[in-house]
Every structure is written in C-alpha cells, then in structure tokens.
C-alpha cells in the first residue's frame, strides 16, 4: 500500500451538496479520457526519463521473476529427477542470483518511483491551489468550497492512486500475464491450453458480478448521501436541537437512515466481495487441472514433472495480476475523471489579469471617483446603474440604503473583485483597471461583513494585516481597535488559539479583532462594511473613536444600517436599487425629507397605544444627570426651577399628545416628525435637552414621561 492509496477508504467521505448524493455511485468516466491523459502526461515533465528507466527495470525484474520458477522446473527435470547431482548447485545458484537481482532491481525501481509519483501529486496540488487563489470572487460565488475541497483532495488522490501505484504495476501485470502465457505455451502447448480454460469463465463471472455490484453501490451512495445530510444538519444545528430538546426526533431520523445505509452497504459489499473467492476458486481449480491433466500427460510422456511444478507456480502468480487488472480499470477511470475535474478548475480563467503595463502603487492620496459606473453580476440584471460620485482625500463617505441596494457591490468594485461593465473607477485620478490588483487591495483596508478568523493565535490573526509587524505593533493595533482589553482577559492573552467555533469569542469580539487587523494594515483608504453590526453601541462608539482617529487623513467608506454611527460622515450617499438617490450631509438630507429622512426616522419611530396614556406622572429628578458627550453638556442651565405640578402635568400631557399623534418615542423623533405642530415652548426643549429627554415609559398601566427637567418648563 502506498501513501497515495487513500482513495479507497475515503470514498464515502461526505460529498458536498453540489454533487448531490450518489455522484460517485457508478464509476465515473472521463468525458475525454485521452485529453485528460495527455495533460496528465504533461505533468510527468522531467520525470519522464525516470519513468522510462523504471519501466525498463520493471520489465527486467519481471522477466527475472518469471525465470525463477522456470529454472526451478529445469532443476527438477534435469537434475533432481534424473538424479544428476553435478549441475544442481550451479543451477540453484543461478536461480538465487536471478531472484536476488530481481529483488535489487525492484528496490531500485520502487525507490525511484516513490519520489516521482509524489512529486507529480505535489505539483498538481500546488498548481491547483495556486490557480484557485487567482480566481475571481465570481467563481467562488458559484462554486461551493466543499466542491473545491473535494477536487483538491479526493480527485487528486484518485489520480495519485493510479500514478503512484499503477504506473509500474500496469507494466508488471501486463508483463506477468503475457510472460506466463508465452512461457506456458513454450513449455507445453496442451497443458497451457488446459490451464487457460478457466480464464474466460473467470473474466465473465467477475465482470457480471462487478456490474451488479455497481448498481448496489449506487444505492449505497444514495443512502449514504441522505445519512450524511441528516448528520450534517443535526450537528451544524446541534445547539438548536438541544434548546428545543429535539434529540429524540433527530436520533430517530438518524437511526432510520443509519439502518438503511447498513442494509444497502451489506448488499453492495456482499456482491463486490464475491469476486475474490471466485478468483480464488478459479485459481485453485486451475492448479487442480494442471496437476490432474499434467500428471496424466506425464504418464503419457507428454510432459515432465518439472513442467507441472512450473505451471503450478505460474498459476499462482497468474491470479494476482488479473485481479489487479479488474481494479485497474475502475481506478483508471476514476483517476481520469478526477484529473478531468482538476483540469476543469485549472482551465477557469483567473480573475481580471493585471494588464501588462499595470502600475505599481504604494500609497494613495485617497481621491476616489466613480464615473458612470454600470455593473451586473448576471447579464441583464444591473446591480449598479450609472453611478457617479467623488470622494475627496481624507473625507468620510457613508453609504446608506436598504438591503440589496448594492452597497457591498460598490465596495467590491472599488477593490476590483469584479470588473465593471461600463464607466470608470479611479483613485487619485488613475483608473484602477490600470493598477496592480494586489497593490490596490493592499491600499484598501477592508473590514468585511462576515468576520473570518484563521485558526491560530489572536496575535497571528491580527498580524495577517501586515505580516512583518512586530508584536508591539500588533498590540498597538489591538489597543487602537479597543480589542486589547478583552484580549488580555482571554486565557492565554494574545497567544490564545482561535478555532472555528471559538466558544471563547463573541461575534463582537471577532469583529474587533478583524478591525485591529485592518488597522495594522495601515491602508490609504478604509472600507468598513457593516463591520460593527454585532458590536453593541457603546463598543461601537469606542471603535468609532478609534476609527475616527484612523480615518483622519484617510478617505473612508462606511456601510452601516445603524444611521447613528454614520452621522459623522462628510457625505452620505443614499443608495437604492443600484442608484444614488440622494447625497449630502446628514443635516442636508434630513432637511430634504426624502428617502434618507424616512430611512432615518424609521429608527426612532415607535408606536404608543392610546391605552398607554392613562396617567401621567412627571418624574422628579433626584440628582442631576451627568453631562454626556458634548452634545447636551452645559445646556441644562438657565431653566427656572419649581414649577407648579399641575401646569407641569398639563404640559407633559400636551407633549404626549403630540408624541401620540406622531407615534414617536423621543423628543427628537417627535420634532423630526412634525416640527410645525409643536407647541411654542417645544423648540426650547429641543434646544436645551437633546440628551435623555422625552422618553415615555409605561409601567403598571401608568405612563411616565421621563424627562429630567420637565418640571422646569
């Protein structure tokens, strides 16, 4: 067994969804076996000489191995039976030398080939991997990673099994069969014919069984596919299974499928395993025939005992290559099919190649311009339509819009993950199509929606942003992203290993790490794609602070649903259905009362039922609220104290009436919803209390207008 011979046990590895169950049910045939073979031959490359040499040596050793029994026969016939002791030592020595040289040659061949096949496999694997790295995101959108995995493992293994094992084995088996047949006929035509009688039967029987077995194997594969589906789903969703206490249900489902696999497996294998006993029976029957017929012929003077001994030895040697051949057909087929699938990926054109005169870049001013950009993933469905905008260096651009508006696509286009169909995208007045992709991307710091961390330590994961960063720089970046504090609290700090499930990290923490990674990369242009959606608002503010520092002299694009986080933007681009529908600052857009305004308001909109307004009790403040973050600080002064409770209540009621009408939960939203209708004193509230003011809370059937200074109105 060689190391490449892994394809057997892995046959039932869960194949990924795209294939559907039973893809390997029947032996897959290559669509163009010759083409695949030729290309595979290309991989032999400089090993070709070695292989030719190995084949030559194999030929010699096989012939020597076959000469052995023949010489033994000679020894029996010419020395032992005639009792001629004289030459026996010589011939025995000759046989020993024959076997010894055969063994030495075999060792040499094995030694040479052990390297060759593995090197080809390694080359093929590396080529495929490196090629995959060059493919566009579009390719990954359409191909499941499971499918790619299986091409890089199962399919290459299938090729490897043939390469490492069969290349010399084919030669050997063929030679053995041909050699034996030739030798038999040379030795004794009639005995040869007699011993070959069983051969056609054997071939027919094994072929028949093989055919039947294949049907059952297909059945097995289908059942296996279903079982894998059940297991995959159960384990992926195990936490939900646990929380709904559905272990019983899923176990029943599992058992049903498990039993089906067991039954199908028993049937399929029973069929397949009938082949070896058959081969055995034929080979034993052959010995019987040789012994019986041969002895009869000896009696008649038509053969010698030495010949019988040779025939028996040969008969034993015969069955093995035969079995090899029946396996060979299958493994060759699946190897070629595997090779074809590998080449299929290798033939996918790499993503947008750099044009030969592409520029190197090492730093941008950061002026970004989209000019009449059109883009569609699928022809006829434009995702970005005629988009034009300009971002000045160092400015922050917020991209806002409903899901599916094309926000992420814009970022993908800027990174040149996809090429646009029409228009141009330029950075510092240079079309990005003329830049080296890698350089371009290195200058764009992207924090993606889906956080992906590699297995490895926290340190390594942050360092992914800049591989030559020192530990101190990594820690500095983490501190910048406000990640340092929680990282230090991990069991091994920066050396804590992260894994796929990473029970030790929350979503938000993973995001902080990915932000640190982007910070470390120190890009010219920063792109945040909803990077803070799972971070709580307070942490988000901390991150925003860090990012704000980072963004100071960098052009930055922020995509977020939470509008509160992008109010700081210099420009807001409101995107809907691939178009910029509005642009301007937050204030300008609010004034406009258009698309953005509605989007923004939905965040503050609340509904308060009439039933809520039964009793209003203004709340007396016990201690003054700490001034918060600038906006409201220092604005609370200057209000008269000690107002009549009844009047207070009246005013509160009035405010609440407005709230009710506008279905607003905060003063700010009430104002935004309809400033014109507010009572005269309302603007004053607005001006003076932009902080925690005017929230209505219902408790025990009562409604509280929580407003720290309402009494002072």
């Amino acid at each position: 067994m060689s190391a490449g011979d892994r394809q057997g046990p892995q046959k039932e590895r869960p194949r990924m969804m795209r294939h559907g169950p039973g893809r390997r049910g029947t032996i897959e045939k290559a669509k163009d076996p010759r083409g695949a073979l030729n290309r595979l031959a290309g991989y032999l490359g400089d090993s070709r000489g070695t292989i030719a040499l190995a084949m030559m040596f194999t030929t010699i050793s096989t012939l020597l191995n076959l000469a052995g029994p023949y010489l033994i026969g000679v020894a029996i016939d010419q020395h032992i039976i005639p009792m001629k002791m004289g030459g026996l030592v010589n011939i025995v020595a000759l046989i020993a030398v024959t076997y010894l040289s055969a063994a030495l040659i075999d060792m040499a061949v094995g030694w040479i080939m052990s390297d060759v096949s593995q090197r080809i496999l390694m080359k093929l694997r590396q080529n495929l991997f490196e090629h995959i790295q060059t493919l566009s995101l579009k390719f990954f959108d359409n191909t499941s990673s499971g499918d790619l995995m299986s091409r890089l493992t199962n399919d290459i293994d299938a090729v490897g099994a043939v390469l490492s094992h069969n290349l010399t084995e084919i030669t050997r088996s063929t030679l053995i069969i041909v050699g034996i047949v030739v030798a038999m006929f040379l030795l004794n035509i009639w005995l040869a014919l007699a011993s070959l009688i069983v051969f056609p039967f054997m071939v027919v029987f094994t072929a028949q069984i093989g055919k039947r077995a294949r049907f059952r194997f297909r059945d097995l594969q289908q059942n296996m596919g279903r079982l894998n589906g059940v297991m995959q789903e159960s384990i992926t969703g195990q936490k939900a299974v646990i929380s709904f206490w559905q272990q019983g249900t899923i176990t029943r489902k599992f058992r049903k499928n498990n039993t089906a696999v067991r039954e199908a497996g028993t049937k399929a294998e029973t069929y397949a395993m009938l082949v070896p006993p058959l081969v055995y029976i034929f080979s034993n029957a052959n010995i019987a025939i040789v012994a019986g017929v041969g002895s009869w012929m000896v009696l008649k003077g038509l053969a010698t005992i030495g010949v019988i001994s040779v025939f028996i030895s040969y008969s034993r040697k015969f069955s093995d290559p035969l079995r090899q051949f029946s396996n060979l057909y299958n493994s060759l087929q699946s190897a070629l099919a595997g090779a074809e699938r590998v080449f299929e990926v290798l033939d996918v054109a790499p993503e947008i190649e750099d044009s030969p005169d592409a520029h190197m870049v090492d730093g941008f001013e950061g002026k970004v311009e989209f000019k009449d950009v059109d883009f569609s993933y699928v022809p006829s469905e434009k995702v970005i339509k005629n988009m034009s905008f300009k971002a000045e260096p160092g400015k922050m651009v917020a991209i806002v819009g409903p899901t599916g508006a094309g926000k992420t696509t814009m970022v993908n286009l800027l990174s040149r993950f996809y090429d646009i169909q029409d228009g141009s995208i330029s950075i510092d007045d240079e079309n990005i199509a003329g830049l080296k992709k890698d350089d371009l991307r290195r200058q764009l710091g992207v924090v993606l929606q889906d956080v992906f961390l590699f297995s490895g330590t926290v340190m390594e994961n942050i360092r992914y942003g800049r591989l030559d960063a020192s530990d101190e720089e990594v820690i500095e970046a983490a501190r910048f992203a406000n990640a340092d504090r929680f990282i230090r609290r991990l069991p091994h700090g920066y050396d804590t290993m992260l894994s796929e499930r990473a029970g030790n990290l929350s979503q938000g923490q993973r995001q902080l790490i990915s932000i640190a990674r982007a910070i470390l990369a120190d890009p010219s242009i920063l792109i945040l794609d909803e990077a803070t959606s799972s971070v709580d608002t307070r942490t988000e503010i901390q991150i925003q602070e860090a990012l704000h520092r980072l963004m100071e002299d960098r052009t930055s694009f922020v995509i977020a649903h939470r509008l509160s986080t992008i109010r700081k933007a210099d420009t807001v681009l409101v995107i809907n259905q691939g178009e910029i529908v509005e642009r301007g600052s937050h204030e300008e857009l609010m004034e406009k009362k258009g698309f953005y305004y509605n989007l923004y308001m939905s965040q503050f909109k609340g509904t308060i039922d009439d039933a809520d307004f039964t009793y209003i009790k203004p709340v007396e403040r016990q201690d003054p609220v700490q001034p918060q973050r600038g906006s409201s600080s220092g604005m609370r002064g200057g209000m008269g104290a000690g107002t009549n409770p009844e009047m207070m209540r009246q005013r509160a009621l009035e405010i609440i009436g407005i709230f009710k009408e506008k279905k607003a939960v905060s003063v700010e939203s009430a104002k935004a919803l309809g400033e014109m209708d507010l009572p005269p004193y309302f603007p004053r509230i607005m001006q003076n209390h932009l902080g925690p003011l005017g929230i209505i809370v219902e408790k025990d059937g009562c409604l509280y207008l929580v407003e720290d200074n309402i009494g002072k109105l």
């Binding site: 067994m1 190391a3 046990p9 892995q10 590895r13 869960p14 969804m17 052995g68 020894a75 002791m85 025995v92 076997y99 055969a102 075999d106 094995g110 030694w111 080939m113 052990s114 390297d115 496999l121 991997f129 990673s145 995995m149 384990i235 936490k239 939900a240 709904f244 206490w245 272990q247 899923i250 498990n258 067991r262 029973t270 006993p277 019987a288 005992i305 019988i308 030895s313 993606l448 889906d450 992914y464 069991p491 796929e500 499930r501 990290l505 923490q509 959606s533 971070v535 709580d536 109010r567 939905s602 609340g606 509904t607 918060q628 906006s631 939960v665 932009l690 925690p692 929230i695 929580v706």
Partner: protein, 579 residues
Amino acid sequence: MSSLKRSFRYLKPYSKEAAGAVILLVLVVAANLSIPRLVQVIIDEGVANQDLDVIIRTSFLMIAASVLSALFMTGNTILAIRASRGFEAGFRDAIFTKIQSYSFGNLDEFTTGQLLTRLTSDLNQVRLIITMSIRMFTRMPLTFILSIGLMWITNPQLSMVMVVLLPITITLVYVFIRVSQPLFRQVQEKIDYLNQVLQENLTGIRVVKAFARREHENNRFKKANDELYGSSVKINRNLSLFMPFITLLLNLGTVAVVYFGGVQVFRGTSSIGEIIAFMNYLTSAMFSVIVLSSMAGRISAAEASATRIFQAIDEEPKIKEKPEAVKLESIDGRVVFEDVGFTYGEDGGLPVLSNVNFVVEPGETLAILGATGSGKSTLVHLIPRFYDVTEGRITIDGWDVRDLELKTMRKLVGVSLQETILFSGTIRDNIRYGRPDASEEEVVMVAKAAQAHDFIMGFQDGYDTFVGQRGVNLSGGQKQRIAIARVLLVKPKIMILDDSTSAVDVETEIKIEEELRRIMNDSTNIIVAQRISTVLKADKILVLENGSIADIGNHRELLESCSIYREIYDSQLGGGVQL
C-alpha cells in the same frame, strides 16, 4: 493499538457472525492447504506409480476442495460484511447518540467538521480494518501457522529452512512496522493539516483577497504540501525496500528447498511430490506475511481514526441530569440568580460572569443590555442549563435548575439563540420544529405575531417554501423572525430571546414586541438586546458590565442611576445629534 481494540467492543452484538466467519475461515484455510498435499499425492502416488486412477481421483478431490474453499469463503464474506456493517451502524449510533447528549460546553470543544469527520471517514477507516480483521487477520496468521505445521509434517528436515528464514522475516517485519508506523501516522497528520489549510483558505478567500495575501497563502499551502510529500516519499521508500526484500526471502527459501530437497531425493529420503508440496506451503506462509505487513499503513490510519472517534465518545457530557431529577409539569416562571459566577473551561481564564444576583418575577419582562463580551449570552444560556454555573445557583420557581429533569425543563424554557439556525425543510417544518404536532392555525398565528406571515405569504409556495440550499435564501431578519415564531409556538413559560431581532428593522421589531407582550403576557420574558428601543418597555433592565451587574431597574430608574445606561441611551437615541 488501544483505541482500535476498544472499537471491537461494538462488534459484540455481531459476535455470532464474526465467530461464524472465523470458523469458516479455518475451513477455508484447511481446504486451501489441502491442495498442495493433494498435488503431492498426484505426483508421488499417481505419476510415480503410473496410477491414472489416483491422478483422476485426486484431481477431483482438488476441484472439490477448491469449490468447498470458495463456498466457505463466500460464507465468510457474507458473515464478515454483515458483522462489519452492523458494527459500523452500531458504532455510528454510539457516536451520534453521544453527541446528542452533549451540552453547549461540549460542542464548543469540537468543530462541526471534526464531529462529521468522525461520523464518516474516520468510522469508515475503522470499519475497513474490522472487515479486514475478520477476513484477513485471522486467515493470514492461520495460514502461516498451518503452513509451517504442514511443512514440518511433510518434511521435518527441509523445515530447517524455516529456522533460518523465520527469524529474518520476523525481524524484518518488526523493523518495518516500527519504522513505518510513525511515518503512517505522520502522513495522516500531514493530510489533516493540509486539509485544514485548504478549508480555511477557501472559507476565508475574501479576506485573503482583500489583504492581497496570495503569496502568503501559497507558501502556507506549499509548506503543508511539501511536508506531506516528504512523509509520503519516506513511506514509499520504506515500502520499496521492504516488499522486494520479503519476496526475495520467499524466493531464496524456495531455492534452498529445491537444493536441499534435491539432495534428499538423491539420498532417497524424499520425493519430488513432497518437494513441490513443500514449496507451495512455503509460498503460502510467506505470502500471508506479505499481505499482513502491507496492512500496516491501514492499521495506523485506522488507529488514528479510532482515537479521534473515542475522543468524541469519551467526552463527558458537561450537563448531567441527577438521577432523582424533578419533573416539573408547569411553572410560574420566577427566575432567581443567586451569586452566580461562571467561567468557560476548567483551565482558569477570567470569569465571564461573577456575583450576579437578580430576580425576575412571573410574567415580568427582563431586558439585558451590555457591551460586547460583557456576558449577556452567557447569562441567558445558564437559565436553561446550556452551561452549568461555576458558582452560586439559579432557581426557577425555587428549584435549582440543576435538580430539574432536562427534558421537561427545556420545554418550559424556550430560547431563541443569537445565531439563527434553521433546518432544511419547509418554513412550516421550521416553525413547527419545537412542537411538530401544532395545528396550521397555531403556526400562522405565531408567524403573524413574529411579523413573518406577510413575507412568507410573499413566497410562491408560502409556508411550503423550502429553506436553505434548495430553497429560498432568507435574509438575516427573515430567519430571525422565523426563529422567533418557532419559540412562540412552544409557548414557553420562560422565553429567552438572545439578540433575536438584531437584523430586523426597528419598526418591525416594535411590532414584534407588541405582539409578544400580547401573547406572552403570562410568561416570563428575558430579552438580550443591543437597541435601547428594544428594552424601553421592559419591567426590568439589567445592565451588564464585564460580567457583573452594573445596575438593574426600569428605564426611568436607570436613566437616573446608571451612567453606562445613559451612555448607551445617548449613543442611540440621544447624543451625537447636532441640530
């Protein structure tokens, strides 16, 4: 080989089949080994005595022996396969059932991929070895021993050849296995590593591209690839030396037999037939050695697999039911945390929660706010005992949750997890997941309450729309709403929503909350949230900070007393707006 040995336990239910298979094997070996003997008879008695009768009779005996041997072999095959497939099914059942007993803490220790590999390819490796062991491992040693015995019987003097041959062979096999066993293990590890690199690269391809790390990834893969190459070549080299060596030993043995046998024939102490028979026995004996040693690689692969499987099987469920666990039929829903502390993992690490004390009265709504990583999810996971507290205790209606029967308790406590998990199947199947017997009206009712009905009806197949790979792609918010409907259908007395509306827009969220208040008004509701608007109307709001309660109270109280709360509040609804 301890793990493999342990796996044999699962063969026990099929011990009859296995035993039958082994017995049949003995018969196979006996029949097979009778053939050289019969050849000897033909030559020595038939040919030498010119007795055609003997020749014909013996030939037929030989054919009969072959047929019998084939029949026994077939019987053995059938039994062996039945046993090994049964073994596989039983073993897989054991692994799967074990996984079903896992709690969250156990699941954190494995990745999905790891568990699936154990259930599929690892198990397959072990099954192959079991099949082989029933078919080969008994047959080969048996053939070996019997052959040597028969050699002795046939010609004791010639058997001296074995005295030389045997020690060399055994030494050789021993050395080979000692040298290659670690190599096989190494190759196995390299394959695993290569696959891991591959898997990560493919999953994280966007990150790789965004950071333009192609070179880095190529090198990473190359390293793994080179290592695999190196180990594989080493193994192949070992094999390339070992196999011809063993064959050479067999052949030299034969040569020796020819010579010494020839000498015996001269002296008249032996016959030609005897020598031919002897050579055949020698071949059988040595061939079985070759077959056995060629399995060495498989065995170490299977041992590695078995070890991995037992890792999953030996994993102690971290949540165990007490034998005298209390079955609660119904509860009021009073939840009390008493000095609760919690740490993930045994090996230290800072506590995620410490000193948490609070009470939620039946029918109340508790909202939990706090920074990322402050322990909100962990806190709610402790209530239905997804994890066990490491300090203090949690009670439901006065019962320590650790004293309750899990099944009944989990039916009373409904949780919608932060990570929305939907299963393949229709939307209806998914909503009904927790209560498969729910009526159509109930399904629609909860879907309406979760604000999912409208978008579901927007699909062509409505509630029969398939979810996932083969069906529609639901947005994050839609998935969350289905997940909420799923919990509502169970009508839990304590309902926990762990950040379950984060991807739902505010307007819809408010509608959902209103519905929840309406239909869940006699349940205790615990809601983890990021948005202030979500928690506004809660009876109590708990503010978590670094695993401890910073403050607890209603919105009004917290605005006054809790600076963290005000900060959160400001960040969302208040501050930052300059008008």
